[in-house]
Amino acid sequence: MTRHILRLIWNKKRSNALLFLEIFFAFLILFAVFTIVTRYMRMYQSPLGFQTENIWIVHMNLNPVTDTTATQDMKVRLKQELKALPEVESASYSGFVTPISNSSWSTSSDDNGFEISTHMMYGDLDYMETMGINLVQGRWFNESDRDARYQPLIISKKLFDESFKGRNLTDSIYDINGEKRIVGVIDHFKYKGDFAEEVNLSFFYGEDKTLDLPNLHLRVAPGTPAAFEEEVNTLVADITKRNDFRIEHLQTTRESRARQVWIPIIALLSICGFLVINVSMGLFGILWYTISKRRSEIGLRRTLGASKSEITLQFVGEILVVCLGGIILGAIFAVQFPLLNVFPIESINYYLAMIFSAALILILVVSCAFYPSQQAARIHPALALHEE
């Protein structure tokens, strides 16, 4: 039966070519859409690694600094006074780079005899606590780091896995923007937001007074009313004697960032939906047409002893083989993307997209082919033969 079907298909190359091409192109389009969607979905699924709920960030501008000591004192006082408020559970300073912002700072070097490439952030003693970061090894910064011979450094697990696996962390000094001692490894920290690849990351230590740490992170108690922002506002304005600061709600930023990605994803999926409907109607149409053209052949086969299920199987089989052909050719094209590394996207995204596209098309084909093929099997042999 299989060989018989294959021969029939081969001898009807020309009429099958159209369906073949339709499936081929549909596969490629679905593949492209699914690659994008899979990539974003996988990013979205991987943990963010820090808290955004109830995190407020006071972005300050300290320049121009006329009196360094006074500004440093002001910073220390600001943190203390904010922390003293009952609504504030935790407060900490960070550098210019804050989570889910557009700024980033990175370095790479092979001064240590191996490649280290990392993004960098500044954090103070309380940063881990405020942001709810998970530690997997070692410790966060502590008081002993202030006067240490070497500046302390905390790296992310991703950086650890990439560059430090099997190396001695605690007793070695590495040159990463100056000589540093690695004191801890944190788990995930996708500082660019939900829809971003996790990058290698290192935290540099900064004190409360350090002017390079102008952004104050606050973790307020759950259920803190919006009116509390006014209170913070007044307090910051009073202590800093300035008005050019801004309070950011990290959760809001996170949501609006995500929305910017969701909208195009939904648009893409809708296009996909239309494509799928189109392809199904095409398939359905082709099948109805072929079957009406082949009524006498069906009558003949029934007369010669084919059972109904054999007729159904033949028609579903024929269309399935042609579609599989289209999918395979599509897959040969598609697999070039991961093989040739066309875009900086993890290969797994491509392979998943290929599987999704193939599965979707096959499900479509089988479900579209089944009904007409069953109708074909119902054709009355005497009638069908009579018609010609």
Binding site: R7, T303, H386
Partner: protein
């Protein structure tokens, strides 16, 4: 042996009711070569279809080789047709996309015979109709007589006991018609195949054992 008892076939369409067969009782003993004649529309094809179990009588009984047929839509009936019956049609009914040899193999596919064995059997059948050198041709590349010989090869490839032929020479000129008739006569004589043939040609009919005449759905002779 084919046995029809009080077979009536009524075609019911929305507007009209046609009695294609009216109370036909007929017995075709094993090994007989029977021909059926009658004017167009008198019910010859209908009769043949009922004998071949591809059509269902409105009333009456049909028994083939001692087995009464009750349900026409079962797998068993399909299987019976496949193994015991051979069909030949006026318009050949070959599949144009398949080469001659594959057309001949068609009934064997539904019998789940291995590819190699199928090929052998089909070659033998084509040899019997003198078309061994046309195996790889497509139906479109054959003359009418050759096409009908392919159809005969397809009908005999499974070694059926009964062949039902609906105007097998109707689309052929007399030379080709005679060729086909010779093949059928030989099958009947040498293998003892029971043959029922519808024809418009008196001379053809006269070469068979018995002639049944139909008129307006009833047997007149």
């Amino acid at each position: 042996m084919i046995l029809l008892k009080d077979v009536t076939k009524v075609y019911q369409t929305k507007t009209i009711e046609t009695t294609a067969l009216n109370n036909i009782s007929l017995e075709v003993p094993t090994g007989e070569f029977l021909s059926i004649m009658g004017p167009s529309g008198c019910g010859k094809s209908t009769l043949l279809n009922i004998m071949g179990m591809i059509d269902e009588p409105t009333s009456g009984q049909v028994a083939i080789q001692g087995q009464a047929v009750s349900d026409y839509h079962t797998k068993a009936v399909a299987r019976f047709r496949n193994e015991k019956l051979g069909f030949i049609f006026q318009s050949f009914h070959l599949i144009n996309e398949l080469p001659v040899i594959d057309n001949v193999e068609l009934p064997l596919i539904y019998r789940r015979i291995s590819g190699k064995k199928r090929r052998e059997m089909a070659q033998t059948a084509l040899e019997q109709v003198g078309l061994k050198n046309r195996m790889k041709h497509f139906p479109g590349q054959l003359s009418g007589g050759q096409k009908q010989r392919v159809a005969i090869a397809r009908a005999i490839v499974g070694q059926p006991n009964i062949i039902l032929a609906d105007e097998p020479t109707g689309n052929l000129d007399s030379v080709m018609g005679n060729e086909i008739m010779e093949i059928l006569l030989n099958l009947n004589k040498e293998l003892g195949t029971t043959i029922v043939m519808v024809t418009h040609d008196e001379t053809m009919a006269r070469k068979t054992h018995r002639l049944v005449r139909l008129f307006d759905g009833s047997q007149v002779l």
